[in-house]
Amino acid sequence: MSLKQLTRQQQNLAGYFFLAQTILVLGIFVILPILSAVFLSLQKVQLLGGIEYEFVGFRNFRQLIEDERVWIALKNTAEYVMIVVPSQTILALFLAVTLNSGIRGKSWWRVLLFLPTVTSSAVLTLIFMWIYNTNGLLNDFLSAVGFPTYNWLGDPNVALKAIMIMNIWSTAPFFMVIYLAGLQDIPKSLYEAAELDGANGWHKFIHITVPMLNPVTFFVVAMGIIGTFQLFDQSYIFSKGTGGPNNATLTVVLLIYQAVFRNLQMGYAAAIAFLLAAVIITITLIQRRLFGGEKN
């Protein structure tokens, strides 16, 4: 009531006083960059002392199509998304359902399983590189059980898969917690009714848990897609920024980084960034269609 007693002007003043910092920061570091990314993508940018721009129209975008490394990066990233997103989602769901099945010490398990999610990607990547290393734990283990050892890091066929395994392992617990929260919202009466009808655990899981979690799954898959398409830290550390061996760990974001800081092609880098944004938004929209939209 009394909030309304403020005059219109006072209300406006208060509103903008509260929003000022947000408008300023989003304006300078989000809106302005988006506009200037559009500008950059149509320019050839020369970084020689100062910055010089030359309008080139859509040449950067044409260059995208002809650039073999763009296709390699897209292929690597797509492969990564298609394997990591379903794996981490299913693993997260199973972990959440297991933790939710009346197990003792639920919060302790949760703390323990959550460890990789709070550890920095830099540290995780180094630990895994060392496990995969020629003298690492994986080879020690293989030779202990009588298998031949292998140079995992040097093989282009293995490098990306090594990063996949690491990321499924480190991201699944994050989504597990989201699923756990979703599980609390499923009414118990549904399960009781199903039990009266003689449903077993598996039936309840398939016919109640999974459909009831559909909105959560939509969110988990959407977050997963957005996150995996932006793979950078791990590839960068793994390959010292090169995307090697033999372009096997080259991702779209790593390509953007290289275009800016190795080849000094800012305009071209902006064009790749728009390609990435377009891919992510398109796939998110398709996913929304497939899931029949969010039920909020």
């Binding site: 960059p33 959550f114 830099a122 932006q230 800016v260």
Partner: protein, 282 residues
């Protein structure tokens, strides 16, 4: 009778199976950490000998001593990360809740527009804004600086949205009573609203601190003076220098990880809350 016994029996087996599966997964989770921790206490010779022993045969603290001697910037990186993460967290808490509160409660011209804009910002991948942000920071002379790391990150659209949802469901009566007592809008926000928002703030704080602490993409682009590196960047450059000295690298990794783990262990409850928050309220 028999059927019931059977059922109970199979339930017990199922339980055991569940515990076994969880224990197995917990081991898979822990092994890389324990293995890294154990290596940080081993001399290099023992690490490359190729015997997977978890307990070091020749226990040593030399690796930890050595990294501080070999890399004098170690403490500096730690300090940089702490300054940046703490500033980013405090500013986010203040500004995100102010913005969220305004969008939820204050009736001003253009509210719908700003709300829509903040929602739209959520959909833009950071890579699009990265290069222009680099150029803008360069223009300001903020490359290799704390403000370059802090100011672009001092508000967060996701958490503005989360705070708005929180305040929309907030009971209005207290604020109205405070307004009758003559408090200003900011006074109400500061003395009535913020204290009651503590759970949402705590959840947000842990989340923002962790993502700032572990951030790699922005620092790798805007920090190139080793003095200004944050921990993840420092660790990466350390790895470049000591390529096969895994004993040092693992000791360094442990030094970098322990503070984050301590904070996580301490605030675990809030962290889990914040994950559930971002998950279900979006």
């Amino acid at each position: 009778m028999n059927i019931r016994l059977n059922k109970i029996n199979s339930l017990v087996w199922l339980k055991i199976l569940l515990y076994l599966a969880l224990a197995l997964y917990a081991i898979i989770t822990l092994i890389p950490f324990l293995w890294a921790l154990s290596a940080s206490f081993k001399p290099l010779a023992e690490i490359v000998a190729g015997k997977p022993n978890f307990l070091p045969n020749n226990f040593t603290l030399d690796n930890y001593k050595q990294i501080f001697i070999e890399e004098p910037l170690f403490l500096r990186w730690f300090f940089n990360s702490v300054i940046i993460a703490i500033s980013v967290t405090i500013l986010n808490l203040l500004f995100n809740s102010m913005a969220g509160y305004a969008l939820a409660r204050l009736k001003f011209r253009g509210r719908r527009f700003w709300f829509f804009l903040i929602l739209a910002v959520l959909a833009v991948p950071i890579q699009v804004t990265l290069i222009p942000t680099f150029l803008i920071l360069k223009t300001f002379g903020w490359l290799n600086s704390y403000q370059g790391m802090i100011i672009p990150n001092m508000v967060n659209a996701t958490f503005i949205f989360m705070m708005r949802q929180f305040f929309v469901n907030f009971p209005k009566e207290l604020e109205e009573a405070a307004a009758l007592d003559g408090l200003t809008t900011f006074g109400i926000f500061r003395h009535i609203v913020l204290p009651l928002a503590k759970p949402a703030l705590a959840a947000q704080a842990v989340f923002i601190f962790m993502s700032s602490w572990n951030n790699f993409l922005l620092p790798v682009v805007i920090l190139f003076d080793p003095e200004m590196f944050t921990l993840p960047l420092g660790l990466n450059s350390f790895k470049g220098q000591y390529i096969s000295y895994w004993n040092y690298i693992m000791a360094a990794s442990m030094v970098f990880t322990l503070p984050a783990l301590a904070i996580y262990a301490f605030f675990n409850r809030y962290f889990i809350q914040s994950v559930s928050f971002t998950g279900t309220k979006q």
